[in-house]
Amino acid sequence: MELERVKERVLEGRPGFPRAYGPARVDHQPGIPLFPQEATRDLVVIFLLTAIMFFLSSYLTPFLGPARSPQISELIVPDWYLLFSWGLLKIADIFPTFTLGAGTPLAAEFNPVFWGDVLSGIPIIALLLLPFLDRGREARPAKAPIRSAIGTASIAAIFTASLYSIREVISERWLSPNGAPLIPDNTQKWFFVIPPILVGLVTYTALRRLGYQPMRRWLVPNVTVPAIIVCAQSAAILLLPGWLGAEALPYVVWIAVHLVLLSAASAAVAVAVIALPETRARDVSAWTIVLAVLAFAGLSIYMDATDRNGYSWVLSVLYPNMNTLLLLPMFAVMTAWLGTRRPYSTYEYLLNECYQCGKCHTVCPVTKVEDDALGGLNLVYNTFKKQHDGVPLWTCLACDACSAVCPLDIKYSDYILEERAKVHAKMAADGGEREWP
């Protein structure tokens, strides 16, 4: 039939347009046969999994303690996957306790265990409602930064809730030199809330940046506010009389060194983000991260080896304030670096949304005159597959007609300009600029 012949010619050599499905399919990319290819792949996974289980059960015998008895003396810890619920049960003692309808058959007692039930129910209800709340079409994590940020924040919250469930262990085992718990309960409670928020903000900033968004409006408050808090609290600890107890006073120099290091790191990235251009700010934050981590690690190793008592006092100042003094500097430097980072792989990320509708090819003025581009060039798709042979890279007018018609809003000319800049930078690095002084 004539129509079939036309179809054949149009689709000739174009990948992704199989003419038939099933065993009769003859196009150049058949699916993977179930047997033996797919079956082999599955069996590898199954055997590996079984082998891991045999290995674990041979060397790590599951626990079987003493028989149950009404008196339980030791601390009971549930399996790891229920720790979060147990942590929520414990954190629920911040809620008020009261009884509704006391004295009636329908008396309802609102106690910490009830609030713990409610807290454990919230994630389940959120999971059930999720597909009805998030109805956008975007599937990729990098292009749905809010969803991804909520996701990483929730994972962080599971970890911090699980950590809070062993608050008794933390209070008993980690002591400051004067015998008090190193991390007070209040600090532990805030540690349940603050890391998830910071993790969510970092994820959001980093993913928006991946999409080439200028993140200055987010960066400036997210970096400067933590820096101000850290500097102010460090100054207060060192300068206000009474913040450091009399016992910690002999170690004030070492405490000051640690506080100055943390404040300097946060202040450096804050200044860089506000005052410097983006590339310089990126370098400053990267170097701040490297130097601060090295300095902090070196300081801990040195103090642990020489002055353990002094180090204990330093930690007894840092740990009760860990939500501000330790978490906020980490947050500030990470945000500054991720928010100014060069998102080098994103353009491939954007281009691979192409589903070969060919609209870009239709409107492109270059393809009408350029001999190399006349036959079957699909601008975005072929560029992504690196099959453009350099034609669009050096003949593109950057007129943006392709972006205007692209159903997926792929910014093609941005990509072209970026690639040209890379080539020029490479030529300059190779000494190319000396030819044109």
């Binding site: 990948p15 992704g16 065993p23 399919r25 990319q29 699916g31 993977i32 046969p33 179930l34 797919e38 599955d42 996974v45 999994l49 079984t50 891991i52 289980m53 045999f54 674990l56 041979s58 015998t61 599951p62 626990f63 079987l64 303690g65 003493p66 028989a67 149950r68 008895s69 339980i72 009971i76 549930p78 399996d79 996957y81 229920l82 509704l100 329908l106 265990v113 009830f114 713990g116 039930d117 389940i124 999971l127 059930l128 999720l130 597909p131 009805f132 998030d134 109805r135 599937a139 990729r140 994590p141 749905a144 991804s148 994972i155 491939e348 691979n352 192409c354 589903y355 070969q356 798709y381």
Partner: protein
């Protein structure tokens, strides 16, 4: 028929009798479908279809659901074997030494010490449970981050959330069964959490645990029944639905 050779006719008679009551011919036809599976091609993923290379490193995350199912099969096999020897009786007894004991815990000792390969069967059951729960959780994370719960897969996401809860219930009921101190503590927490529900708290605790405290040890038998009958029944049914929906709707990949 009566005049025929008995040796020659027996087969025909017996199979003829069976065949007229259990017609197998239409079902035998199904074997052709099975044979055709040999020729079946797995549907190509989006990335394979369009020869995308950038997100290859996500692909291992797409076998987490399968890993949890394999772990579930291993759990079923080892669970059946453990069930031959486990005694679901948590009532307190006094041992000859004067210590408190109970029949469930004694049967755990028997499994660990006397039954051939008992300790390795229990070890497999234990570690497969941990791997299954971890794989289910990571599978949920993968589905969340790749937006695979969106239209038209909302129903499958809801099934998955219920399966996650069932998996957690499997784990919880599983560590109640050894009737050791850990199970006592976990049962106490569970009873307290059930009793905290307004109005129906005590009734709910009695329904789930057999009593409003752990003293009588009724919770062992009750959660044994939940662990070996109710949860497997509901869970297996929902898993079949869950996987059928994936089969019908296709794997949702980000693109």
């Amino acid at each position: 028929m009566a005049t025929g050779d008995l040796r020659k006719d027996t087969g025909r008679t017996v199979f003829g009798w069976l065949k007229s009551r259990f017609p197998t011919v239409p079902y035998a036809d199904l074997t052709r479908v099975v044979l055709e599976t040999d020729q079946r091609q797995m549907p190509r993923s989006h990335a394979e279809k369009y020869e995308l290379k950038t997100i290859w490193y996500w692909y291992p995350l797409y076998c987490l659901g399968g890993i949890s199912f394999v772990a579930f099969i291993i759990l079923t096999i080892t669970g059946i074997l453990l069930g031959f020897f486990y005694v679901p009786d948590g009532r307190l007894e006094i041992a000859a030494t004067g210590d408190l004991t109970n029949a469930a815990w004694q049967s755990m000792l028997t499994i660990m010490n006397d039954i051939p390969f008992g300790f390795i069967i229990r070890g497999m059951h234990h570690w497969a449970a941990h791997i299954m729960i971890a794989a289910v959780f990571l599978h949920m994370c993968r589905v969340y981050f790749t937006g695979a719960y969106k239209k038209p897969r909302e129903l499958n996401w809801l099934l998955g959330v219920i399966l996650l809860l069932i998996t957690l219930a499997f784990g919880y009921s599983g560590y109640l069964l050894p009737a050791n101190n850990l199970s006592e503590g976990a049962a106490n927490i569970g009873i307290n959490m059930s009793r905290a529900s307004p109005v129906i708290g005590d009734q709910l605790a009695t329904l789930l645990f057999g009593d409003i405290n752990t003293l009588a040890g009724a919770y062992i038998l009750r959660w044994y029944w939940i662990h070996v009958f109710i949860l497997p029944l509901v869970g297996t049914g929902l898993m079949i639905l869950h996987m059928s929906l994936v089969w019908l709707q296709g794997v949702a990949e980000p693109h």
